[in-house]
Amino acid sequence: MGQTLSVRKLEAWYGPNKTLKGINMEIEANHVTAIIGPSGCGKSTFVRCINRMHETLPGTKVIGEIILDGESIYDQDPVALRKTVGMVFQKPNPFPSMSIFENVVAGVRLNGQRNKQNLQAIAERSLRMAALWDEVKDRLNYSGISLSGGQQQRLCIARALAVEPAVLLMDEPASALDPIATTHIEELIRQLRDNYTILIVTHNMQQAARIADSTAFFLNGELVEHGATSEIFTNPKDKRTEDYITGRFG
């Protein structure tokens, strides 16, 4: 089941640059929330703070609170946290040294699960959830990078799901894919919503309109507006939001 996220007064730096200037946001469970905004607005940084990946880069700093299901993420072991908060990246990144099967179960196996049957069950379940099972079930031992771009991304999604996270962060997951693969991914996200809390960063507003329950608009490190997707796109409250949506800048 998904979990709620509360973000309070989140500020983040990358070196001398302040990339997030105080974000306050409530993210609903079992919901798809899209994060839109022009490049450099801080949406990637924001999302990477939630699974504490931002702090793995040198020269970064984070202040503020992020509460996941009642508990602050900064009170947890970051490694353990990342099992609860999964991430899918912009460019598909399956592990080159592993087969499809090994890729899917990588997170589970490297964290202790050794039983072969369990692993196979987990792999099948995850690949089905990622709508990839039928395409790869006969070649699970092929290299992870032998798949097409869209398939690789679904493999990465399966890999993230195998760890059974509560929250799934997706940083422009379809931007490197062709339109057909993009459609598959979007379909997948709609199906996953019931069981996960999904945050998807996207520069494609139509995509946000298609799949997100709510949308947040970021600009220059600030959260400008956050609300139901239909509201944001038809009746934005802030002028900046309106300008962005109507294409006056972007």
Binding site: K83, T84, F89, N93
Partner: protein, 278 residues
């Protein structure tokens, strides 16, 4: 008129470069050719099975030298490869940009440029003198010192080629940094690292100078690692500089075997472990 002169100059200079390449390749074929010609003639079963015979007698071999080289290269690899790879991992995965890693890289560079005979001197004064005898261990250690910086360099280069996105994917799955390095990054870079190790092995197999006063040489089988031991390059040197024709022939044969060994390792490293670049 000017156009004609420019064209002529162009043709002239380009021919000069072609000529330079031909000149550069002549010694290659010269050396390999003679080694092949003279070495093949003296190569026979006895070469691989017999110990050296006294001067003037035919039928001697270099069995002990071949085995000695294999043993010392093995010792060097057992020490040098782990140290090199682990140090390379530290410099890439844990500490890329501090003054400490800069210092270590500088030291690695220094060690790469040291004439190999200097390594021999150091091991002699530090180990041979202290232990009171020449040994295969001392020779292996000298070769290890030569290997270490080579392997650090190539390991670093190969690890840097692993896209950072792969590491992030590992962390994002809740895999600790250590496990990510060992089970994801290292296997991804494995082919390149192995290639680097093999090239380093090929390189030290041919080294003579560092063995001259560490392993010394031996006309017989060494009974333990704590004794002087023969090696192919040193034996070749001793035979080549001797006055005996039979020994000269053995030197050619030994050179042929040594070169073949090195070329095979080189080719295997480059082709068998070619990484699939997109």
């Amino acid at each position: 008129m000017k156009q004609y002169i420019r064209k002529y100059k162009n043709w002239l200079m380009l021919s000069v470069f072609v000529a330079a390449t031909i000149i550069a390749l002549v010694p290659l074929f010269g050396v390999l050719g003679y080694v092949l010609k003279n070495g093949l003639g003296a190569l026979n079963i006895q070469f691989f099975t017999n110990l050296p015979k006294a001067m003037g007698l035919s039928g001697g071999g270099m069995a002990n030298a071949i085995v000695g080289t294999l043993i010392m290269v093995l010792i060097a690899s057992l020490i040098g490869i782990p140290v090199g790879i682990l140090a390379g991992i530290y410099l890439t995965e844990y500490d890329r940009h501090s003054w400490f890693s800069t210092a270590v890289r500088f030291a690695t560079d220094v060690l790469t440029g040291i004439p190999s005979i200097i390594v021999g001197i150091v091991i002699y004064t530090a180990i041979v003198l202290k232990m009171g005898n020449f040994s295969a261990l001392a020779g292996g250690l000298a070769l290890a010192i030569i290997m270490i910086p080579l392997i650090i360099r190539s390991t670093e280069e190969m690890l840097k080629l692993v896209s950072h996105s792969i590491r992030e994917a590992g962390y994002a799955l809740g895999i600790s940094k250590g496990k990510t390095i060992l089970k994801i990054v290292l296997p991804t870079a494995a082919k390149g690292i192995i290639t680097g190790a093999m090239l380093a092995i090929a390189r030290v197999s041919g080294e003579t100078a560092p063995l001259l006063f560490t392993a010394l040489g031996n006309q017989y089988w060494a009974r333990s690692l704590n004794e002087p031991i023969a090696s192919l390059p040193v034996q070749i040197f001793q035979y080549a500089t001797s006055p005996y024709k039979e020994w000269h022939q053995l030197a050619w044969a030994g050179s042929l075997v040594l070169i073949l060994m090195i070329i095979i390792i080189n080719l295997a490293a480059r082709f068998a472990f070619r990484s699939r670049h997109s």
